[in-house]
């Protein structure tokens, strides 16, 4: 099942159409977003992933309403909200540095949204208590926010944004300020919170591992454009762009020429003459020079007697517990990494040895 198939089954929570944002004017103008098209579905954990400066935070700020786009439209459940100010959008944000109000207690922070919506006091009290329980901070209700630890502040920010029961929750790198261990446990907590509340989460991060673990779908962005949208498996196993392939996990990229195509499959001749068949996917290149990609874990060592797909000279062995990376220099001059689960026989695999590698044909992709 691909990302587009899911999109057909479910309703869109947020629809973004040809959205552009330019900062500054004239020769100093910077295009932060360039004609972005995007549908975020109801009850989805959606992640915007990309390096800093790719436009992911700008996109989030436009959805939140902190800035007006230069062009295009944003709708929320089929209602155009493009030019609505932030306080008129049923969307809440968890800010990168939490942005908790320092002059209010934890409970006052959490109740702020409901108070602004003019909800009755009893309801505010009840919801605040429910939220405190949800993030396990009942004991902290009366505390000032600067008396809390980073992880606790994070939870207050989350509870504050969830309290008004928004249609969409935006999270701007909310875990970036936490240490690794806390980040891991918050990842799981966030994911289960999303499942529990059923609210659409739009999560911004530059951490590919975080994106893969938490998301239902991911949009990979670069230079103000979305390169690929798909499930974590789509993005990881079937990258369509060299940038996506490179940005997420490790990958081997080999240059070659398309000889002929048969449906989704292309026969590609590598530089040393070896022929491999690769999946085309959505790649537009049906002939000529292309790049093909394969993950290190999808390459295995040829056992004795087996005919290897490619051979190379072993240059380096890097062992890291669960797996061993073997760095080969291929006949084409390109480098290839093989990830072998567990350790390898060090007597047999010595730097300088000639090694055979087998590429799993169904996992080779042609890139844009």
């Amino acid at each position: 099942m691909t990302g587009t198939e899911i999109a057909r089954d479910r309703k869109a929570a947020v629809s973004v159409r040809s959205l552009s944002k330019t900062f500054g004017q004239g020769e100093y103008a910077i295009t932060a977003l360039d004609s972005v098209e995007l549908d975020i579905l109801e009850n989805e954990f959606f992640t915007l992933l990309g390096p800093s400066g790719c436009g992911k935070t700008t996109l989030l700020r436009l959805i939140a309403g902190f800035e007006l786009p230069t062009n295009g439209s944003i709708s929320l459940q089929d209602q155009d909200i493009t030019d609505k100010p932030p306080h008129r959008r049923p969307i809440n944000t968890v800010f990168q540095n939490y942005a908790l109000f320092p002059h209010m207690t934890v409970a006052e922070n959490i109740g702020f949204g409901l108070r602004m919506l003019g909800r009755p006091t009893a309801e505010i009290k009840q919801t605040t208590e429910r939220m405190l329980a949800l993030v396990q901070l009942e004991a902290m209700a009366g505390r000032r926010t600067d008396q809390l630890s980073g992880g606790q502040q994070q939870r207050v920010a989350l509870a504050r944004a969830l309290a008004p029961a928004p249609k969409v929750l935006l999270l701007d790198e909310p875990l970036a300020a936490l240490d690794l261990k806390l980040r891991k446990s918050m990842q799981i907590e966030l994911k289960s919170l999303q499942a529990e509340t059923g609210i659409t989460f739009v999560f911004v991060t530059h951490d590919q591992e975080e994106a893969l673990t938490m998301s239902d779908r991911i949009a990979v962005m670069k230079s103000g454009k979305i390169l690929q949208i798909g499930t974590p498996r789509d993005i990881y196993d079937r990258p369509t762009h060299r940038f996506v392939a490179d940005f997420i996990g490790d990958i081997n990229i080999l240059e070659g020429t398309v000889e002929h195509t048969d449906g989704d499959l292309a026969t590609v001749r590598l530089k040393d003459g070896t022929r491999v068949s690769a999946h085309l996917g959505t790649a537009s290149a049906r002939s000529g020079d292309v790049s093909v990609a394969i993950r290190p874990e999808n390459v295995r060592l040829a056992s004795t007697g087996e005919t290897p797909t490619l051979t190379g000279i072993l240059e380096n062995i890097v062992y890291f517990g669960a797996a061993t990376n073997l760095h080969l220099r291929l006949g084409t001059g390109e480098e290839m990494v093989i990830r072998n689960p567990g350790a390898v026989d060090e007597g047999r695999y010595q730097p300088g040895a000639t090694i055979g590698a087998i590429l799993q044909p169904e996992l080779i992709r042609v890139l844009e």
Binding site: L68, N71, G72, S73, D80, T82
Partner: protein
Amino acid sequence: MSGREPQSALAAAIEQNKRTERVTRAWLLAPALTIILAISILPLGITVVYSFLTPGTYGGVTWEFSTDSYVQFLFQRDIFDDTLVFNSAYVSIFLRSIGLALGATLGALILGFPTAYFIATKPREQRNIWLFLITLPFWTNLLIRTYAMLLIIRDEGIINIMLMKAGIISSPLTILYTDTAVFIGLIYSFLPFMVLPIYASLEKLDFSLVEAGYDLYANRLKVLFHVIVPLAKPGIVAGCILVFIPGLGAYITPELLGGGKKLMIGNMIAMQFGASRNWPFGSAAALILMALVILVLLLNALAARRGASNNG
């Protein structure tokens, strides 16, 4: 068609936001700008006009055009044959003021630089205390501080008493109502203005450079003049300007410590609006003082720009 309509709505919203922001800003700025324009800047225009009028008999002005105020600054009109004779009285007051202000600037620099350096090399907590001690006098009444200075430097002040008791002098030193008194008073009044900007530039200084300097120069004085002073130059220049300008326009210090006899520009201007009652001349003198100040600031801006382009 449906694609165009929301776009024009968006454009309208962007335009509306900009307009709201402009209007809000204008209203927010209005009170401060109105007050300062009306009560501080408009009067400068009036001063320019007054400087070209004829003095009224009992103060104020008579609305008759005249350049006498500027002529009077340099010349005296001979009462018998109406010729102009050069008169050095006012020019010398200006020169005296410039001299005193320059002297005080130099004095403040000699005292202020080591102090700023000393503070900058202290641990952070101690620095704050020192800075507070240096700043505090600035926020106490300048008149009272000057009066306090008068108390200790006069003939029967504690400085003279202590010196006499110690047997260093037999009769009191006359300091009060001399140029020395004004000089001391100016340093005392504006010393914090010298210390703070120098401190601000030294605070950013990486003292490992100083240590590196010892490798290369090996001598304290050389390190001071080749490494530290060049790096602290912006602060030194700012400090000198901040001492020189108020020193030049000082009123209270020469009034109290100079005994009203040793005039500076500030007192001379004030006198024209009081006992001497020559408002146009006072206005002209004030404008010449302002021109001097602007000249100093312009020279500084020019030097700063040249420095910047040399570096770039």
